[in-house]
């Protein structure tokens, strides 16, 4: 059973990675290129010698990007299969496809979008090299808090289900998550490192591309995984209306 889920999760991750890669290459790379042009122009204006290229831009924007996105997507495909194995049959009476979709939306929001609201993705030339330690720690901590609170909220919703019904229990769980993460967002340190002259529209299109890349990855994993496993999971065929 677990083998079946993991194989399909990683396969869904691979397909999702390919689609996300196409999006990132076509929609995301132009703003990465524009940001690097800005960085080079700033360095030239400051009279700094150009940095030697350890990996050429051509490799970074093709093979390097593909490696990063595909490894990331396959890893999340595997984690998705694990989350599904725990969630299936435990979040209400959702069938396989619906469980996968709920997990996909929850994963996209809690593992990416919510941390992004506090610490949005930045193109090259934004970010002080001296603060990379703090920024790395706070970012990963934010992801951990967000995913942890999402899991806690799901458990809370499950407990309230019998008393409040599915609809209201879900609303309370979502509200608890929003409150907890708003507080966390206030407590976490702010990062303000965008250079004054950095073109705002490049920053905007880069961040939209970043959100889009992740959206494509998560929705593809969720929808494809649901279809791939739905006929392979055991289900008790019970008469409608009987208590489960």
């Amino acid at each position: 059973m677990m083998r079946m889920l993991l194989v399909r999760g990683m396969f869904a991750g691979l397909v999702a990675g390919v689609l996300a890669l196409v999006f990132a290459r076509v929609i995301g790379e132009p703003s990465v290129g524009a940001a690097i042009d800005f960085e080079s122009a700033e360095a030239t204006a400051a009279g700094e010698p150009p940095e030697p290229e350890l990996v050429s831009r051509a490799v970074q924007s093709t093979l390097g990007l593909a490696t990063g996105v595909l490894v990331y997507a396959v890893a999340f495909g595997g984690l998705f299969a694990l989350a599904f194995a725990v969630a299936y049959g435990r979040i209400g009476r959702l069938d396989a496809r619906a469980t996968a979709l709920v997990l996909g939306v929850g994963g996209y929001l809690s593992a990416f979008v919510v941390p992004f609201l506090k610490y949005p993705a930045n193109p090259p030339s934004i970010g002080n090299a001296d603060t990379i330690d703090e920024r790395t720690v706070t970012y990963f901590l934010m992801v951990a808090v967000s995913v942890g609170c999402a899991i806690a909220a799901a458990c809370l919703g499950r407990r309230l289900m019998s008393r409040l019904g599915a609809w209201n229990a879900t609303l309370v769980a979502v509200l608890a998550f929003v409150v907890a993460l708003s507080v966390a967002g206030l407590l976490f340190p702010a990062v303000d490192e965008v250079p004054k002259e950095f073109p705002a529209d490049v920053l905007w299109s880069f961040r939209v591309a970043s959100l889009g890349t992740q959206l494509i990855m998560w929705t593809t994993i969720a929808l494809l995984f649901g279809v791939l496993v739905r006929r392979r999971l055991p289900a008790d065929r019970q008469l409608a209306g009987q208590p489960g």
């Binding site: 995301g28 990007l65 725990v86 009476r93 890349t213 992740q214 999971l233």
Partner: protein
């Protein structure tokens, strides 16, 4: 039981996978995924297991677009 629910329609009830069956896979795949995500997202940034900048520079564009802190 309400009479309104048509008693002849079978509704599949999801069967849970026992947590003790999930746990060993969760530990193994969880650790493996974290190692992979570390190399894509953070190696040769705040911490370096391999010296130099090659890993960082190679996955550079992906790291930026996937939302990891960089530089």
């Amino acid at each position: 039981m309400s009479v309104a629910s048509s008693a002849s329609v079978a509704v599949p009830i999801p069967v849970r996978i026992p947590l003790r069956e999930v746990l060993p896979w969760a530990v193994f795949i969880g650790v493996l995924a974290m190692v992979l995500l570390y190399f894509v997202g953070a190696e040769q940034g705040a911490t370096s297991l391999i010296s130099g900048h090659y890993v960082h520079e190679f996955v550079h564009d992906g790291r930026h677009l996937l939302g990891f802190p960089c530089h």
